[in-house]
Amino acid sequence: MIPLTLRVNGRERRVDVSPDTPLLWVLRDHLGLTGTKYGCGIAECGACTVHLDGRPELSCQVSVSSAVGYEITTIEGLSANLDHPVQRAWIEEDVPQCGYCQSGQIMTAAALLAESPSPEKGEIDRAMSAVLCRCGTYQRIRAAVRRAAREVG
């Protein structure tokens, strides 16, 4: 194993893992960033969504070696004090129920708004369809994305 250097939430982190290890497990098991969740491991649920250079990626599908050189952002690094517009909107709309999928939801919504600050309803639904919520909080997710968009736009 050759040590790799990642850039995670603005900090350089050295990890000594097999290069084919998915980024998800490096974040969770080696870097202690458990906010990123494991749901399915097969690119179906979106719970593990993180940002690579601002774009949403499923960390269960990205090998750690291919994440080298990117700016990796996890839910822990989205804002310092819960002051990202998406996090504020999530609190205002009281979105989470059990909360397990919500890191993936928030990271997906934040990436959408960075790309498209005033998304159409269909655009919100298309982007957010990438993340499943077994509690069924979809109506509040949609309302929170719209609320955040009003604040950003």
């Binding site: 097999s18 290890t21 497990w25 839910i75 822990e76 996090q87 609190i91 009281d94 059990c98 909360g99």
Partner: protein, 277 residues
């Protein structure tokens, strides 16, 4: 909390000297829908009022999105007339006996048992705080009222916070039969309160089962039989043991566990197992 000092009545336990001052009541919330007569007394929800006026409620039941971290403290806080912004909720640790049944199922957390005991706990603590204030002012407890974490004596326009009264209140006996509110007096119960865990979920700081970390821990996965009632006939772990990071392969009654230095190594080890079912 340093131990249990005295059993005042079956439903309540007053807990001993507290590091931050104040007092705590342990309440028994039965784990089944019906009577709890056959279960031994074992407090499983704890309410503490410290000398800063913070109300801390330990919830032994598991939060799974149904809202017990919010709903159970609301019940206590309403009867206590606590200031909701100064109520702090703590998930009690998993323990084989200490908190009774910790599972969450069938509406048993609120409907099945907690409703009356938690109201009684809040009401008992409130009466102790009122008694402490009345003694300090040398007035009758009936002349005092409570609101938002304070005892008030309207006749003399005096008020004391629960924090100022907590040490004295803790020295008083627990009332035998505290008066419960008429439902028309509820302020929190029946109102819409945002779930207390939301800021944790939104920041990624909430701890789910898969997020628990202990020093030097290893990670395991279990390869289960592909049919109901299946069991292991034979298995060859040599390829699994070759996977970097795999530490141990263990046969269980219901499958084979691979223990490794991280989850991915455990998964790859399980893929490499050769098992005959």
């Amino acid at each position: 909390m340093s131990g249990i000092t005295k059993l005042d009545r079956r439903e309540f336990l007053k807990l001993g000297t507290l590091a931050g001052g104040g007092f705590a009541l342990g309440v028994y919330v039965p784990g089944r829908l019906r009577s709890a007569a056959d279960e031994p007394f074992q407090p499983n929800v704890f309410v503490r009022i410290d000398s800063e006026g913070m109300v801390t409620i330990w919830v032994g039941r598991v939060e799974m999105g149904q809202g017990v971290h919010t709903a159970l403290p609301m019940i206590v806080a309403d009867e206590l007339d606590a200031d909701w912004s100064r109520v702090h909720v703590v998930q009690a640790d998993a323990h084989p006996t200490k908190y009774g049944r910790q599972g969450t199922y069938g509406s048993t957390s609120v409907r099945g048992g907690a409703w009356i005991p938690l109201r009684q706990a809040g009401a008992a603590a409130r009466e102790m705080l009122v008694a402490a204030a009345a003694a300090r002012w040398n007035v009758a407890p009936a002349e005092c009222r409570t609101a938002d974490g304070q005892v008030l004596h309207d006749g003399s326009r005096r008020a004391l916070t629960y924090g100022e009264l907590a040490d004295e209140a803790g020295a008083l006996p627990i009332p035998e039969d505290p008066r419960l509110k008429d439902p028309r007096e509820f302020r929190l119960i029946g109102s819409r309160i945002p779930l207390v865990d939301t800021p944790l979920h939104v920041s990624g700081r909430s701890i789910f089962g898969l997020d628990v970390r202990v020093p030097q821990m290893l990670y395991a996965t279990v390869l289960h039989p592909p049919m109901f009632g299946g069991s292991v006939e034979r298995f060859d772990a040599s390829a699994a043991r070759e996977v970097p990071g795999v530490r141990e392969v263990i046969e269980l009654s219901s499958g084979v566990a691979v223990v490794a230095e991280d989850t991915w190594a455990a998964f790859r080890g399980a893929e490499a197992l050769d098992v005959g079912w």
